[in-house]
């Protein structure tokens, strides 16, 4: 598309649905689990059988409040409404949701780059079942048969609606990934987009730069990953700009993102939009958490990702490099920051602890339980003192995690990781230099990066026992003495 994109601004608001990590469903006692045989995890309530009634799950309310507090929302007395529409996966042909009185409202989310996105509301509602259309194009209208699985029916959701404060696909991505970190950190949701426990719809519009009124928006659905979110927004903005440049108007409608073709297509127009006939759910009473409950939820929250990242940054001395910042994000996202904090407290260099946590520990999260934080911290210190080479330190961490041992010094000894004496290192370096005269000549002529080549050779010869730093020091000494 050849359009003048620079004279337009994209305006995005996101609606994020996340499944809550409750033990049971929102209105009945069925377990809230994923991946069971179809229609085995159901009861009269979540199947909407005649005569059944919903009873609100207080754990779901608590998790919703956690999300609200983490997003700086006000928690207010709220109520439930029925959203009426016919669809086979909707057991009652209405969804119980919150309408004009959501439990959380008027919050905001601060992104790592410091920008703020307003959060209009974060309300509770129930999930639907899952329909599989067999035959035809996989859509309901052309299908030969439709199969419905009600296991998901009644699973608790919180829908988080942002203000139209987002201005690019990249910022939308940052918003969703920060939101995901918060959901995970508050243990409210697992935030897995690929399993559908976190689902994102984007409202996209464009307007000429400097305009104060919003353009006509389109709602884009079926965004199953951060990648499709960014792509779909960029595509949709470009499509709308092209329409405007061609003198056409953007129609308000719901559009479907197709990952394969990389484009959006119309699902239904404004005229075809449902009239949901919202009205207060008479089977439920008002939900008004008292101050004590709200306070106890606030207390249980713990520090949020932004504060935890700030803590790591301060341990790094306040101005981390780009790669270090990526390690900070990953470490907090994976809940590994406690390792770095503990190691730093014990006197280990934070940067090294961060590197080991975000690489070696992060690559084997399943074994995290067996890793003793004190042992991790000792290992990092041994490495920083030069008692262990980096290769050895990584091997020790792997061993600690796979066996649950808590004595890194003994582990290193058992593996034969004694620090090599300066004499032995000098011997090995001299051997490596004599074996590779060409490379040595280039090193001497100033190709510093060839030190890596020699480190590799020495490591190979010593089966990783040598310390890289010592090798470099010996190379420098040799080169200086040859220059004399």
């Amino acid at each position: 598309m050849s359009v003048d994109r620079n004279s337009f601004e994209t305006v995005i608001g996101l609606e994020v649905h996340c499944e809550l990590l409750t033990a049971t469903k929102l209105f009945c006692g069925c377990p809230n689990v994923f991946g069971e045989e179809p229609n085995t995890n159901i009861c009269p309530v979540c199947l909407g059988l005649p005569g059944s009634l919903p009873v609100l799950n207080s754990q779901a309310v608590e998790l919703a409040m956690r999300i609200g507090l983490a997003l700086n929302c006000e928690i207010r007395p709220s109520s439930f409404h029925r959203k009426n529409y016919f669809y086979p996966d909707q057991a009652k042909d209405y969804q119980i949701s919150q309408y004009d009185e959501p439990i959380n409202s008027n919050g905001f989310l601060e992104l790592p780059d410091g920008s703020r996105v307003g959060v209009t509301r974060a309300h509770l509602e129930e999930d639907t079942g899952k329909t599989t259309h067999v035959g035809g194009g996989g859509r309901v209208h052309s299908a030969e048969r439709s199969l419905v699985d009600y296991n998901r029916s009644g699973v608790p959701l919180v829908e988080i609606v942002s203000e139209p404060d987002i201005r690019s696909g990249a910022q939308a991505r940052a918003y969703v990934s920060e939101l995901r970190s918060i959901l995970v950190a508050t243990r409210a949701s697992d935030g897995k987009m690929e399993e559908g426990s976190m689902r994102v719809d984007a409202n996209v519009s464009v307007r000429p730069l400097g305009a104060t009124e919003f353009g006509t928006r389109c709602e884009v659905k079926n965004l199953n990953s951060l990648r499709s979110l960014t792509r779909a927004i960029d595509y949709e903005a470009a499509r709308q700009i092209e329409l405007i440049n061609n003198g056409e108007e953007v129609q308000q409608e719901t559009r479907h993102w197709d990952e394969d073709s990389g484009s959006t297509s119309s699902m239904r127009s404004k005229e075809e939009a449902y009239d949901y006939r919202y009205f207060p759910e008479p089977d439920l009473v008002r939900l008004a958490p008292d101050d004590a409950w709200i306070a106890s939820v606030r207390e249980s929250l713990g520090p949020l990702p932004a504060r935890r990242r700030a803590k790591l940054v301060s341990l790094l001395g306040g101005s981390p490099s780009g790669p270090e910042m990526d390690q900070v994000l990953a470490t907090v996202e994976l809940d590994l920051d406690f390792l770095v904090i503990e190691a730093a407290k014990a006197g280990a260099p934070a940067a090294l602890a961060l590197a080991r946590a975000s690489n070696e520990v992060a690559s084997n999260l399943d074994a995290l339980r067996s890793l003793d934080p004190a042992a991790f911290s000792t290992t990092v210190q041994m490495e920083s003192r030069g008692d262990l080479s980096s290769t050895q330190a990584k091997a020790v961490i792997a061993e600690l995690m796979s066996t649950g041992r808590t004595d890194p010094v003994a582990v290193a000894r058992d593996k034969g990781f004694e620090a090599m004496s300066g004499e032995l290192i000098a011997q090995e370096v001299a051997k490596a230099v004599s074996e590779a005269p060409q490379e040595w000549k280039r090193y001497l002529s100033g190709e510093e990066k060839l030190s890596q080549f020699f480190i590799g050779k020495v490591m190979k010869a010593t089966r990783g026992k040598a310390n890289g730093k010592d090798v470099v020091a010996e190379l420098r000494r040799l080169s200086a003495s040859e220059g004399e």
Partner: protein
């Protein structure tokens, strides 16, 4: 008039508990009398002979073991067919629920069982409880045992008729706008609607959730009170269920007497009623005065708007409650080319005209652009009505008035005129909108010698004052009957 077992619930229970009579023999007799006598009245849509006999044997065994099966030991009870019974068809007298067998019991059914009562069958009703004559049933109308050319009232007409005919001493119905009290009045039995939230709605197939309440039918106030006590109480499966409040037993209330009670006779519940109905209500009020109550007439003008508000709120909730009957999961399915057409075809074939009319009314009332003018406005009227009641109850303990504007009418008389049919509930609807308890007690007869019911209304949670007054009216009716019989 009695075609069945003339015994009252207390006699049956005491005889079963004291080995004088077996529960099995009671059930056998009841089933036999229904099979013999119900072909004309058609108060039942299904009998549960097998499970009832099995249950009776369990009750007898408990007695044989020297234990107490409960205060309703061996008492046969009929259930309106909108109360879920595990393993037994529950139809709401609608074709749309054809073939559906509930996998669970309603809370009231569990409570009946725990009290030793025995469910013998399911009674006919207006389809989804929408009607005042039991004529909109898919299974055909029920007839009034007092005069089989007349309707029994509705929507719980089957339960009212079953008790009036003497098939069972007790029955349960549901009351959304008068569906217990109006048929009770027309059939000459006691029918009561508890305070909203007193009785769990779990397992009651919803018509209008904010108005529906399950309640008892009996031939006496005392039996109705006993059955109410058995089925009421907090249920964690119903979020609108009230927590149990400390209160005296209904037994004490029944014998307390009305001396010093302030009774208001409501002008709007007498206006435009059939003359003989008005006379009976005034006689009942006089009897209360003679028994020591302070009786005074009172006008509550807001009552005039209750019917209009009700016919927006109830259909609005119904339009949503009945959406689930879509042919997808249970009940009738009429196949078609795609899902939406299958939904439409199933609903078209499965629902009768009155149900369709109310679904359309309710859908319209909730539609974008009409919500504020209809549903929203009706909710405001409801709020005003509650405030008006609150104000009147500062001066009165209970209120009395007619239950039904007239005695039982001819079958078919109002079938083609929905508004005339809706007006049958004009006296009963206010209590549903307010969530208050009310009872209809038979008091003499009106046109054609047919029964008249006097209604006693009380504020929320004041069932006992209502029972106290009901018991006195009942005694006065029996005294008047004895005097009348002595005179002839």
């Amino acid at each position: 008039m009695s075609r069945g077992l003339p015994l009252d619930a207390f006699t049956i229970a005491s005889e079963v508990r004291s080995h004088e009579r077996s529960a099995r023999s009671v059930v056998e007799e009841v089933i036999e009398s229904i099979e013999r006598g119900d072909s004309e009245i058609r108060s039942f849509v299904s009998l549960m002979a097998e499970s009832a006999l099995k249950r009776a044997e369990v009750v007898d065994e408990i007695v044989a073991n020297g234990c107490d099966p409960g205060r309703l030991a061996g008492v046969p009870v009929a259930l309106k067919d909108n109360l879920c019974t595990k393993g037994a068809a529950t139809t709401c007298s609608s074709r749309i629920l054809e073939g559906w067998i509930p996998p669970y019991d309603a809370t009231v059914v569990e409570k009946l069982r725990d009290a030793g009562a025995i469910v013998v069958g399911k009674t006919n009703m207006d389809e989804f409880a929408m009607g005042s004559s039991t004529e909109t049933s898919f299974y055909g109308p029920t007839r009034n045992p007092h005069d089989t050319t007349k309707v029994p009232g509705g929507s719980s007409g089957g339960s009212a008729a079953a008790v009036a005919a003497g098939f069972v001493p007790l029955a349960l119905g549901s009351d959304t706008g008068g569906s217990i009290r109006q048929p009770a009045a027309l059939c000459g039995v006691v029918g009561m609607k508890p305070t909203y939230g007193r009785v769990s709605r779990y397992g009651l197939i919803a018509f209008a959730s904010s108005l529906d309440q399950i309640g008892p039918f009996a031939r006496s106030v005392a039996e109705a009170a006993a059955l109410y006590e058995v089925i009421s109480g907090h249920d964690e499966r119903d979020s609108t269920s009230l927590l149990k409040s400390e209160q005296e037993t209904t037994e004490e209330a029944l014998t307390r007497g009305v001396a010093g009670l302030r009774v208001g006779v409501v002008t709007e519940l007498l206006d435009a009623m059939a003359p003989q109905v008005v006379s009976r209500v005034r006689e009942a009020a006089d009897a209360l005065g003679l028994s020591g109550a302070d009786v005074e007439e009172v006008s509550i003008p807001e009552l005039r708007y209750a019917l209009s508000a009700y016919y927006l709120i109830a259909p609005a909730e119904a339009s949503s409650n009945l959406a689930r009957y879509d042919g997808v999961r249970y009940g009738l399915r009429v196949d078609a080319d795609d899902v939406a057409s299958m939904n439409a075809a199933s609903r078209t074939a499965g629902f009768g005209p009155e149900v369709k009319r109310r679904i359309m009314l309710g859908t319209y009332a909730l539609s974008a652009g009409y919500y504020d003018a209809y549903y929203g406005q009706a909710q405001k009227v409801r709020t005003l009505l509650i405030a008006a009641f609150d104000k009147v109850y500062e001066r009165f303990d209970v209120l009395v008035g007619a239950t039904s504007p007239e005695t039982a009418f001819e079958l078919g008389a109002k079938s083609s005129d929905p508004i005339a049919m809706y007006l049958s509930d004009v006296c009963t609807i206010p209590s549903n909108l307010a969530g208050h308890p009310a009872i209809s007690v038979p008091f003499g007869s009106g046109e054609g010698g047919l029964p008249v019911g006097v209604q006693v209304l009380a504020p929320a949670l004041h069932e006992n004052e209502m029972f106290t007054v009901g018991a006195v009216i009942e005694r006065a009716a029996s005294d008047a009957r004895n005097v009348g019989e002595a005179a002839t």
